[in-house]
Every structure is written in C-alpha cells, then in structure tokens.
C-alpha cells in the first residue's frame, strides 16, 4: 500500500518517481532517494537527513559539560584552521542569559542560529513573566525549535549539538540537545568528535566530590586525550563556569588559570604515558 502508484490518476512528481524507483530496487540505503528530504522515512523508520545532521554534529570538536559539587563547568575545543586566525575569534561557548549558557559543536553557524533563538526566547520569557527563564524550560524550547527543522521539506536540520548549562532556583542543570530535537538532562555529558573517549573519562570521575576548579583540569585532560593521535593540529579550548566565585553567572574561566590547568593536564598525560 505504501508504494502503490496508479500512473493513470496520479501526477508524475519527483516524489512519486523516487518512490517508484525505490519500490523497484527494493533498497533503502543512502543514495536511494530517502535521504533527499527530511519529510520521508526510509523503510527502516529513520529520517536520513536527521541522521546526517547527527553526523555533522559529531564531526565537530569535542564538547563537555560537568556538573560539580559547587557549580557547573562547560568546555569545548575547536580547530584553529589557520595560523593567521586571530585568537579567541571563533568561540564555541555562548551566553544566553546571565546564568544560562551553551557550548556548541558541529556546524558552528548553525549553532549560532540556535543560540540566537534561545536568546530571543529568554528575553521574551523575562519580559512576559517578570523573572528569568529556567534552563529546563529553555532547553525544552530550544529542542522544540531544533525539532521543527526535522519536519519540513524546505528546511535543513541543524548540524550541531548543544550542551546547555544553567542554574534553576539554585540548582545546577545540564542538558544535551541533539539535531533530532531530542534532549536529556545529565550529570555530565559530551558530544563532538571525541565524545566516546570523553565519556569513558567522565565515568572515572567522582562527580559528587568534584569541584569546578578540578573540573577545568579534567576537561583539559579529556580534550587532549580525545584528540586523534599523530596529528599535530592546533586547537583552542574554551571553558566557562558558574559557581559562587562568579556570583553564579556563566563567565569564561580566567585565562591564567585555564592555561595553567592545560599545562598541568598535558604534563600529567605525558608522564602517565612514560609511566606505562
């Protein structure tokens, strides 16, 4: 029934031709037409464009979020594409309100579009209800926005994953939002190219005892470990945090401290390797 086509009565449209083509070949993989638009499932029940968007998101630099005992830390790395690039000119962490922010991986301009929408939502909410939006509500709205882009033929799903951190009524919250529009709350999460390595490393941490200052060190360590070996690419790392030190505003970690932790992380990894 799904692929029944009556050539007498139905107009010959691109869609119909594609369906007919697939019907005849009895195939469902990439390049069979199901990946042309996000309006059509493939026979396995997947929407290829969304899967591809996930791939795009997974191919960006690693990003990590850690909920600590005294606050919350998010961080991410990004490739420095050229020696001529001005430092810190391609950040991957964005503020949304004073105490909500997000780190983005994948197609960064896509991420910026989503962040821009998140900022609008936050401002509108504050205007309407007279209080700051909570990150739980904001994450939900942003996820819905990203989800909308998986529904329509003329739209391309966002090729980015977003880790959103915030403080709701004094409670730290951490969310990972994916291109499909799925989002979950985490104690700690990672996305991007090195997310497997990061997740393995996160499992080794005792999050209930971890402080924000320690977390900065661990994030550096995870990011170094997750990089592909043998490649001498240049990276820059962004880390922001929220704790009593920052008045529970999301702000970048002081540069000196960040650099110190980076050196320490690199040294420790080297000596670990020598120890082996």
């Amino acid at each position: 029934m799904l692929f029944f086509i009556n050539f007498d009565t139905q107009r010959v449209t691109l869609d119909n031709l594609i369906r007919e083509f697939i019907f005849l070949l009895n195939m469902s993989g990439a390049g069979t037409g199901y990946d042309l638009s996000s309006t059509t499932y493939n026979p396995e029940g997947k929407v290829y464009q969304v899967e591809y968007a996930m791939k795009a998101a997974e191919s960006g630099g690693s990003i990590i979020g850690l909920k600590c005992k005294d606050g919350i830390v998010i961080g991410g790395e990004r490739n420095v594409l050229s020696k001529m690039l001005v430092q810190h000119s391609n950040k991957c962490i964005f503020g949304i309100t004073k105490n909500i922010g997000a780190v983005v991986t994948g197609v960064i301009p896509d991420g910026k579009a989503v962040i821009s929408r998140a900022r609008q939502e936050a401002t509108q909410y504050a205007e309407f209800y007279g209080k700051d939006i909570g990150s739980t509500v904001l994450a939900d709205r942003v996820a819905q926005y990203m989800y909308l882009f998986t529904l329509y033929g003329g739209l391309r799903p966002f090729g980015c994953s977003i880790i959103m951190a915030g403080i709701d009524d004094g409670t730290p919250k951490l969310f990972l939002i994916e291109p499909s529009g799925a989002y979950f709350e985490y104690f700690a999460c990672a996305s991007g190219k090195g997310n497997q390595v990061c997740k393995t490393e996160i499992d080794k941490l005792n999050l209930s005892e971890l402080t924000c200052r320690e977390a900065v060190y661990h994030i550096h360590k995870m990011l170094v470990k997750s990089r592909e070996e043998g490649q001498e690419k240049r990276y820059e790392v962004d880390i922001s945090w929220m704790n009593s030190e920052t008045n529970f505003f999301l702000v970048p970690v002081p540069v000196e401290f960040k650099d110190e932790m980076e050196r320490k992380a690199k040294d420790d990894i080297e000596s670990e390797e020598r120890g082996d």
């Binding site: 205007e127 309407f128 209800y129 007279g130 209080k131 909570g134 739980t136 509500v137 939900d140 009524d169």
Partner: protein, 232 residues
Amino acid sequence: MENFAIEPAPSDLSKAGIYLNPDVNGMGQERMGTSIMAAIFNGGVIFGADTRTTMGAYVASRISDKIECIHEKIFCCRTGVSAHTQALARYVRYYLSQHVLNEGKLPLVLTAARLLQELLYQNKAFLEGGFIVGGWDPVNGSQLYEVALGGTLVSQRYALMGSGSTYIYGYCDAEFREGMSQEECTKFIKKGLALAMARDGGSGGCERLLVVTPETVTREYVPQEEFPYNLR
C-alpha cells in the same frame, strides 16, 4: 482547601430580565466603585472586599465576589470596569495555568502580578482597572502586590484600592502593624472595609474575606449585621 466557585456571581440584572439603556442616567458600564484591601499577617495574606457592583447610581449586584482565584495559592481583588478586570483576571488565570504546565511547579505570585502589569501597561489607553495580587509561593513565601492603573507594580505589606479606600488610608496607616496574628489582621480588615463602606456610595453590601496561608485557603462572609462599625 475549601472548595468554592471561581466564577463570579451572574449579574442580578440578567436574571431579573431588566434591561437598562446604557446611555441614560449615567448608567454606563458595570463598574466597581469598590473597597478592597489586603494585608500580610504573620502566617499569610488576608484579602477583603465589599460586595457592591454599580452601574452609575444603580446597584447592579449586591452580592458580587471581587476576590478572584488566579491559581491555587494566588488571588487578586479587582477594581475598575468589571468587564476589563474580569477579562484580565481570566487571561492571567489562563497564562498561569499554561505556565504551570510548562514549568511543572507552583507559579510565583510575582509572575501573576507581572502578567497583570504587562497587560495593564501595554493597554493603558483602554483599560480601567487595578488589582491587589497576593498569595503564597514556595520561593518567596507570602507576598502582596498592587498593580495600579497604568501598570505600576508595587510590593506592599498592606494594600488598599478602589473608591472607598481613599477614606481609610489614615485608618490603615495608623492601625497596620507588622506581624499581626490572623485574628488581629482579620479585625483590621473587617473594620477598614466597614469604615470605607460607611462613607463611600460606590461600596456597600457585605464583606468577603479570604485567608491564604501556605497550607490552606479559607473564605469568610461577613453580613452587614456583623460589621464592627456602621454609620448611623
């Protein structure tokens, strides 16, 4: 929580089949020449209101309920043109119910007040109304706000509004104390409203009181016979 109807009492006029030409005798829209007040006591908030609704000099309802439920623990007293304030309260009730579903927790009293402020402020050219908003929420406890004509939002320890309130500012300034017991506060409000009604033609009828504490919401009706003060 005591169960009670949220809907305002239907106008006696329609029940009686009376039709008034709105353009004669100053009988325009139904409006509440009103005495409403509220105060914070040591365990919550008490609201009070008279029960008279007028059209010009005609008493359109002598049993109206001017204390409206916005959410489980958030209430407001209305003053101004009934149609406006009823509609506004309805809007805020609706917005807040949606808000609660979104947030999954009790709404803030300030949020209710802010919604009313925004509606009054953005439409100040058309709307004639004022609100006393108050109640309890788990974040900020018992609170009271006045949302005045034009959309001014002010936090208060005790609040007065309506035409009758002008006669009792002195009484309230002199008699209100921080940290009254529920009994003292009830007395304070009962007497204040009785004094206002004694001098204000726009206010009258009986008194309705509503007590909001973190645990309970209770309503009280005070018939004229039981007023602590009557002008003779």
